[in-house]
């Protein structure tokens, strides 16, 4: 089923017209209402009148994650705070987190794009969905919730965690759809095995997984473990949260609702568009957003794009799975981790520039493990093993309080972390993403 056939199967010319009209309105809207964009446009000598069609989007400046942090918490909003209905927060690199504000129109848009995603994945009204994404400041839980309501599904708002209860609900309620992070789906399979869960009792047929990058190998593993079709949903809270793009049952790229989220894929060096099929940074403009619309937001995610019509009938462009990042952010158990956050903690403890390295591995149970190697300095060395262990514990506690995920600290000898141009190589990602 296609949720909005008229728009999802629209021909290219009609889509362009809609995009052009919406971009013109957007330029006017941010110029009139957002303190940040008003200044940005005037600094660059651009006026909304310069935007005559969607092609003129390249005249507009990019928006970077730093712009959001610098305008913390609300200065980038395009509506007064009393018209903002909901606020979500995701972790930033250092200092201020990234705040996303949703007007009522934006919440409606969010529900709409997730309803499209759910249909894309094979859901039909009346299905029961187990939402095992976290509910709260993280966009996963509530996003899937709103979209499920919009489509007419029966929602079980399990949130993440309490795995045995999740399994009991699966067995007793018989939901057809599961939505969570891919690593949690694998973790649940592990717990199910350990606790003697009869997999014949699983009613899940479709899994909608996102919030962290995952590979085809992980897809196969999840599909085999649960006997489901596992589909990738993509999103970021700056744009709307999940629902920015989602795979259809054919699994040939993630459909992006280009009538509301205008995608560009640009070359990292020249910032010019790359050819379809070539990889580059995904840049998104949510052209209908009201509360916190962004212009040409640089996602830092590397993808390729395919504009051809999909065999499922949808004409919406499709992006590839995330091929990489332009920065050194890693996502561990759904949490954004920037090496600089760890660097700050180490700097505060040691008082000098630390040499460290993050190693991310996916354990057999599907959970990601984050290990931080720290080169030991003379001043922190002790002849007693327990003092060194205390030192490790102190670092791990402080990092955990910043990241909200557990980390393992490993002290290593000086100059053993590989350096390039004098700097340590910050991240070793051993996950097969």
């Amino acid at each position: 089923m296609i949720f909005n056939e008229k728009i999802e199967c629209i021909n290219k010319e009609e889509l362009r017209q809609i995009q052009s009209k919406r971009l013109k309105e957007l330029a006017q809207r941010v110029c009139d209402n957002s303190l940040f964009y008003k200044k940005r446009f005037s600094d660059l000598g651009i006026t909304p009148k310069d935007i005559k069609s969607i092609d003129d989007i390249t005249k507009l400046p990019f928006t970077e994650k730093d712009n959001l942090r610098d305008n913390y918490p609300f200065n980038i909003f395009s509506q007064p705070l009393e018209d903002i209905r909901e606020i979500h927060v995701s972790s930033g690199t250092t200092g201020n987190p990234v705040v996303a504000g949703y007007s009522q129109e934006d919440l409606d848009l969010w529900a709409d794009v997730i309803a499209r995603s759910l249909c894309c994945a094979g859901a039909v009204p009346g299905d029961m969905i187990q939402v095992a994404y976290g509910y709260g400041l993280f966009t996963g839980g509530l996003g899937l919730h709103y979209g499920s309501l919009k489509l007419g599904l029966t929602v079980i708002p399990c949130s993440s965690g309490q795995t045995k209860r999740q399994l009991k609900i699966l067995k007793d309620f018989k939901p057809r759809i599961l939505a969570c992070t891919p690593s949690y789906a694998l973790y649940m399979a592990e717990i199910a095995k350990e606790s003697g869960f009869d997999f014949n009792d699983s009613s899940w047929e479709i899994g909608i997984f996102g919030a962290e990058p995952w590979s085809e190998a992980i897809r196969k593993e999840i599909e085999k473990a649960w006997g489901i079709s596992a589909l990738d949903i993509y999103g970021l809270s700056e744009i709307i949260g999940p629902g920015v793009a989602c795979e259809c049952h054919l699994k040939k790229g993630l459909h992006i609702p280009a009538d509301v989220f205008y995608p560009e894929v640009i070359d990292l060096k020249t910032s010019k568009p790359v050819l379809p099929g070539e990889s580059g940074e995904l840049v998104l403009t949510p052209i209908t957003k009201m509360g916190m619309p962004l212009i040409r937001y640089r996602t830092r995610d590397i993808v390729s794009i395919d504009y051809s019509r999909c065999e499922c009938g949808r004409t919406s462009p499709r992006i590839s799975k995330i091929l990489g990042r332009t920065d050194d952010m890693i996502i561990v158990r759904g949490i954004n981790v920037f090496p600089s956050q760890i660097e700050e903690v180490l700097l505060a403890i040691e008082g000098t520039q630390p040499h460290y390295q993050l190693i991310v591995e996916r354990e057999k149970n599907g959970l990601d493990k984050l290990e931080v190697l720290v080169e030991l300095k003379d001043s922190f060395f002790s002849d007693e093993v327990k003092s060194l262990q205390h030192f490790e514990n102190r670092i791990s506690k402080e990092i955990e309080s910043v990241l909200s995920i557990g980390v393992k600290i490993r002290l290593v000898e000086p100059k053993t972390i590989e350096r390039s141009e004098g700097k340590s190589k910050r991240v070793i990602d051993k996950r097969n993403l």
Binding site: F381, Q389, P414
Partner: protein, 143 residues
């Protein structure tokens, strides 16, 4: 009379102990006693050297994290109950012992055990009062 122990941080990797003692050998520093404390990932190699100053310098130059600690070398009767006698004295005087290890070499009929105390001076006083012989730098070098 305290003597100096040299401690070296070693990752639990193949060949690292060899690397460390090779550095000492090349600097013409002799190891008089040694022990290793370890957990799964790292170890601390503790040594009594005939020339701790040169030893530390050579290790640091080779990129090791090394430090020195004051320890006490004690002569212990080399017969059943010899060590127990010393430990009883320490226990009765509430002296905290962090760790200890033995020398391979002996003085006449006595064994030598090195102790790391949280309060070395107090330990030396108590042991001396109880007629336990403490060895000095010269004694160590003389072996």
């Amino acid at each position: 009379m305290k003597i100096i122990q040299v401690s070296v941080f070693l990752e639990n990797k193949k060949g690292r102990i060899h690397d460390a003692v090779h550095v000492l050998g090349a600097a013409n520093v002799n190891i008089k006693a040694l022990t290793i404390a370890e957990n799964e990932e790292f170890g601390v190699l503790r040594m009594v050297l005939d020339n701790p100053k040169d030893g530390v310098a050579a290790l640091k130059k080779a990129g090791f994290v090394a430090s020195i600690t004051d320890i006490v070398a004690v002569e212990v009767d080399d017969r059943p109950g010899g060590l127990a006698k010393v430990l009883k004295i320490l226990d009765e005087n509430n002296i905290n012992l962090e760790y200890m290890y033995a020398f391979v070499e002996k003085t006449a009929s006595n064994a030598i055990v090195v102790f790391r105390f949280d309060d070395a001076d107090k330990a030396i006083n108590v042991l001396t009062e109880n007629n336990i012989r403490i060895l000095g730098k010269k004694d160590i070098q003389a072996f």
